[in-house]
Assembly symmetry: C2
Homo-oligomer: 347 residues x 2
């Protein structure tokens, strides 16, 4: 692993893509997804109306806390790539945002989070009981909505994904506060907790859109690689961005005792004294800002962030390559742009 050319404490600079070009990609994506985004928001609001007001209130709070609607968009675009033209895609796409929101709500309880995307975490406002139960509601509602599509294959892919996801969440919890996680196990955890649902969104888009076995397989792979890249970048950003940019305090993973790839790298590549210092801080009671800065410097010096970003880039390449079976068209370009943006995003 190469040493990188930044000073301690400074974030590594991403190669190849210049800032203006990132803004171009972002703008290009935004213009083209706007109509779909608006359909998703309208439908989500409609579906959150229940006879129990607290459910709507907590549900709207978590769903309006700045989510990127990545999963619904991917489902809609995957269906479109397979030839679907119609309006029934939107309610099915919302299923993925509901499942994602349910898992965020339960994560906040599990992690004792106080902030999510710069806003107070739902459990700090309504308490753990409400957050657990509204999470359960969103999950049940998502399954009920999917059942309405009367397609057993979609239900099969979805329920396999949610079962793997919940196993992944338990796995992550079991391994928290444990620094001896290896890259392979880390990848297994992020596959389950993030990539599997994103993959299911793309795969189900293909099934719903009438794609054949080849299209299904291509979009499932696309989603899986994209999901891995997405989580890798998330984990790198936790050692990089300022709290304002990321919307959550930097160093969250470390404070929650999660050993993510940047840290795993530092442990693999650091000098013996550095490793000992790292273990000492990690196993301490509370991690101060100074201690976090110290670990961050170690992580940067060890090349941990760059390594994580490079791996993410490889997955983005793999994701885009999986779409080679589809002819060039605007939807495919958009999906590839979204994959690129996953890497260069700062939030």
């Amino acid at each position: 692993m190469d040493q990188i050319s930044t000073l301690p404490g400074e974030s590594p600079v991403l190669p190849k893509l210049f800032q203006p070009e990132i803004e171009d990609i972002k703008e290009r994506i935004l213009v083209r997804i706007r109509p779909d985004l608006e359909r998703i928001e309208t439908e989500m609001n409609r579906l959150l109306t229940t006879s129990v007001p607290l459910i709507s209130v907590v549900g709207r709070y978590i769903l309006r806390s700045g989510g990127k609607r990545l999963r619904p968009l991917l489902m809609i675009l995957s269906a479109r790539l397979c030839g679907y033209r119609g309006n029934r895609d939107v309610p099915l796409s919302v299923v993925f945002e509901f499942l994602h929101a349910a898992s965020l709500l339960h994560d906040d309880v599990v992690d004792h989070a106080e902030l999510r995307r710069s806003k107070p975490a739902a459990n700090t406002i309504w308490g753990n009981p409400a957050v657990v139960l509204v999470g359960d509601f969103l999950y049940s509602k998502a399954i009920l909505m999917t059942v309405g599509y009367d397609n057993m294959r979609i239900l099969e892919v979805l329920s396999q994904a949610t079962t793997l996801m919940s196993e992944g969440e338990v796995l992550q919890m079991v391994r928290s506060d444990d620094l001896e996680v290896e890259e392979k196990e880390y990848l297994e955890i992020i596959t389950r907790k993030t990539a599997v649902l994103i993959s299911a969104a793309c795969h189900i888009g293909a099934i719903f859109g009438g794609g054949g076995a080849e299209e299904e397989s291509a979009l499932r792979s696309f989603g899986l690689s994209l999901g891995l890249a997405f989580q890798l970048i998330d984990d790198a950003l936790d050692y990089m961005g300022s709290p304002n940019e990321l919307g959550k305090p930097v160093g969250n993973d470390l404070r929650e005792g999660k050993a993510t790839l940047p840290l795993i790298c530092a442990l693999m590549n650091g000098r013996s004294a550095e490793k000992n210092r790292l273990r000492e801080i990690f196993s301490g009671e509370e991690i101060t800002q100074e201690a976090f800065d110290e670990i961050r410097n170690l992580v940067i010096r060890s090349g941990g962030i760059e390594y994580t970003q490079r791996l993410a880039m490889e997955y983005v390449q793999k994701a885009k390559a999986a779409l080679h079976i589809f002819p060039s068209n605007p939807t495919k370009t958009l999906l590839c742009d979204m994959a690129d943006y996953v890497i260069y995003r700062r939030v």
Copy 2:
């Protein structure tokens, strides 16, 4: 409402059925359900084997904490009543025990419970995070198992039930610490939180067993009424049994701020001074054993327990009446015996 003939602090005596006869019914039921119970236990153990050991450990703990397997048994017997003869009923029946266990785990987090059926509640051993996530796993796994049956109607009934259930849980939470719940709203809450799943078990048994629309409707009604009776008796027992008998400390509902029917009755029928005293204790910080005994005496004097039991008996009659379309046979007799036993059980 009649006044009943017990001294303050003494539990009201159930009418009509003598203790030996209760034991007879219990024995008769046990002998006949034993083979099914054994099949259920074996299958449940098999299905709890996952790649994540903590899931199996917590799952087995909650599933072995003395559950009566009422829901799986009702599903199996409903299918049999509709003519099903085979072995594929058991894995489907376990779905209902998994869903029930998931909801118990999340309830323990919501209620900050310390005991469940005389054993420490799972969250006191493994903590809220593990309990929330293992609950999520059991729920996901239950849906995945149901999908394996490739029957969209079963999935429809099941996902409607779980959505209503989770709404009911939120509703109950919202109304906790509120004494001004009326009988109608109380019945709405227990319908959703308990009766809907028991009804779904019977209804799905009918669908799986190949029953027609009439059989489905009869078993759905049977389950709904039986579920209501079951919860009514549960709520009455919380003011009656000794902790040893019931397996959880008496007065739990009161301590958790749940106004159940016995208490609602006391509030309707008590004298003005009694009502004020009741409100005072209910809204206090902590309810001591003395305060609970005082409330219990008020509840008994007001006829609250007897009223709750009588309503439960009416629902049991209604449940049994719903089965009139089926010819007399041993399975029907067993279902009716189980319905009777719901009333006379002490645990």
